[in-house]
């Protein structure tokens, strides 16, 4: 094990502006997270198989009992599942960061001359890219089980962008949870109780008007319902009312509050 030829001289660091380095750092971290996604079988199951199961479950098991006036349930369901899946992905953000912290990888990153925010931004960008893949897969599965969006391709893409933005902004909140949790199990345990009421007490699977009165107030006005309504309206070519704007405002508000919170937590986490 000889080390001949290694001399402790610093190689010349490639010349780029600090902004370009920050972008490069974010992409490097995102790439590593995507590789992990592909290599850990359970995370692939979580990302792809689980939403497919949800589609099949609600389409063929529960769907027969759910009646939406003037609409095939499958057309109501698929836009909802897409929104649910992209938001569920944020749990992975929390677990992944908690794991990195626990294993000491973040320690190593902190001692590198990389952009400080790249660890968090790289993670959330990886989750964004994963969501794009998931949207494509679920769309295909949806069409296979009878989903017929009538809103046209531009509106379909618009709807996808809207929910990707929403999920991206939400994932910063889950990044905060991942950094605050002592380990990945706790991160998961903290994330689920937040995700469940937001996704299930919403207009994702059923119409809010079918819920008990006391729940309707929450379910109608919470951001996930607004996003689901907007996405569904756009995809099916139905009127969307103010839901697109309300979803955008929620997204913007979420990232303005949550990104600084997560970043502050990252600086403190040791």
């Amino acid at each position: 094990m000889s080390l001949t030829g290694i001399s402790p001289t610093l190689p010349i660091q490639a010349q780029k502006s600090s902004l370009r380095w920050a972008v490069s750092d974010v992409l490097t971290i995102a790439r590593r997270n995507l590789l992990a996604l592909v290599r850990i079988p359970t995370s692939l199951v979580f990302a792809i198989i689980q939403p497919v199961m949800f589609v099949l479950l609600f389409r063929y098991v529960f769907g027969g009992e759910i009646h939406i006036r003037g609409l095939d349930y499958v057309n109501f369901l698929i836009p909802g599942i897409l929104v649910q899946t992209t938001i569920f992905g944020a749990i992975g953000t929390a677990i992944g960061l908690a794991e990195d912290l626990q294993r000491g990888l973040i320690e190593r990153f902190r001692a590198l001359p990389m952009a400080r925010t790249a660890v968090l931004a790289g993670r959330t960008v990886a989750d964004l890219i994963r969501n794009v893949m998931v949207l494509i897969v679920i769309t295909i599965v949806g069409v296979a089980v009878g989903f017929r969006p009538g809103g046209g391709i531009p509106h379909y893409i618009e709807a996808c962008l809207l929910m990707l933005l929403f999920a991206y902004c939400v994932s910063w909140g889950f990044a905060f949870i991942g950094l605050a949790a002592p380990n990945s199990e706790t991160a998961q345990a903290m994330a689920f109780p937040l995700i469940f009421p937001l996704t299930f007490a919403s207009s994702i699977f059923v119409q809010v008007s079918s819920m008990p009165h006391w729940l309707q107030g929450f379910a109608n006005n919470q951001p996930v319902s607004q996003t689901a309504d907007a996405v569904r309206g756009l995809m099916l070519g139905h009127p969307v009312g103010s839901s697109v704007w309300i979803s955008l405002v929620w997204s913007l508000g979420a990232i303005l509050v949550l990104a600084p919170l997560a970043t502050a937590r990252f600086r403190r986490a040791a």
């Binding site: 080390l3 190689p11 490639a14 590593r32 000491g104 990888l105």
Partner: protein, 334 residues
């Protein structure tokens, strides 16, 4: 640049709003081009010191420069000139060995072609070429440490922090790592190494400091410390504890450091083992005490701590009143 790779002045670091003092005024002067050791048990503050010097933590008070750059004012310059490896700085389990090195290289903002060449070179030199394209999940403990060290070397830093690089390794892997570290220093790298093992400090470090409860309790060259602490532990075993206690009094003045009586065993750290053993035998014989066993062995970290502080390394509280106020609860990762 000064002759010192690291200069730390009176560094204090507290946790939990000052309740825990992990570092209580530590000053270090690490000369360039040699291995400098921080020796101490768990919770003595070694890792905290390394984390401050590698800009992961900021000091509560005091100051430190690394390669001439202040760790608080110019952290980026510090980060560009150091490598960090050890028990807590880990590799990514889901990436291959090669991918790990490439990631660290690109986060060090090195040109791509350089990183690829360098990663191959390091994998080759650390005997990891065959495993280069396997995910690190499949690596053994020794392979992980070697990859971890390789990751710290991707940017060719002039200063390397190694935090307990061999803790938990089997003897062969430990020997391999020692050889690597010696080679690096021959090539001009400065190494700041923390360890719990006296043997490791003795083999690698030219100078070292001994930390206990966040304070330096001894410093000097390995030779100076050995002379001061004694080279050998003389262990005498008796049939019962009363014999051991009697003998303890008889052999007390064989060493400057206190004898350690543990049940039926009396241990004294001495400079000259054989001579001290012969002397001890004469005294015990003259005292009409029956000896059942006698061994001479290398001192352990426990022996060093006993000599320096009067308490064992793993003890939570020391029975020394004068600095009882500085005792702090141990932090698992301080």
């Amino acid at each position: 640049m000064s002759d010192y790779a690291v200069e730390a002045l009176d560094v204090v670091r507290t946790f939990k709003d000052g309740e825990v003092r992990a570092l209580d005024g530590v000053s270090l002067h690490v000369p360039t081009g040699e291995v400098f050791g921080l020796l101490g048990p768990n919770g003595s503050g070694k890792t905290t010191m390394v984390r401050i010097l590698s800009t992961i933590l900021s000091p509560t008070s005091g100051s430190a420069t690394v390669n001439g750059f202040d760790v608080v004012k110019h952290p980026d310059e510090v980060r560009r000139s150091i490598g960090l490896a050890g028990q807590y700085a880990t590799v990514d389990e889901n990436l291959t060995g090669f991918e790990n090195l490439r990631m660290i290289g690109s986060l060090n903002h090195l040109p791509k072609s350089f990183v690829i060449k360098r990663a191959r070179e390091l994998l080759e030199q650390f005997g990891l070429s065959d495993a280069a394209n396997r995910t690190c999940k499949t690596y053994s403990g020794g392979m992980r440490r070697r990859l971890d060290l390789a990751a710290a070397l991707v940017a060719n830093p002039p200063l390397l922090f190694l935090d307990e690089p061999t803790t938990g390794l089997d003897p062969q892997s430990r020997q391999d790592l020692w050889a690597i570290i010696e080679n690096l220093v021959e090539g001009g790298t400065t190494v700041l190494l923390t360890t719990q093992y006296l043997e490791e400090a003795d083999r690698l470090c030219k100078q070292l400091v001994v930390l206990d409860h966040g304070r330096i309790i001894a410093e000097g060259t390995s030779q100076q410390l050995k002379t001061r602490l004694g080279n050998t532990v003389l262990a005498l075993t008796f049939a019962n504890t009363s014999d051991a206690n009697l003998a303890g009094v008889l052999v007390k003045d064989l060493s400057d450091t206190p004898a350690n009586i543990d049940g039926t065993v009396v241990e004294v750290t001495v400079a000259n083992g054989p001579a001290a053993a012969a002397d001890a035998l004469r005294r015990i014989d003259a005292g009409n005490i029956a000896l059942t066993g006698l061994t001479l062995r290398e001192p352990s970290l426990d022996d060093v701590f006993l000599s320096l502080t009067g308490h064992k390394a793993e003890e939570e509280e020391a029975p020394i009143a004068e600095d009882a106020h500085s005792r702090s609860p141990r932090k698992a990762r301080s």
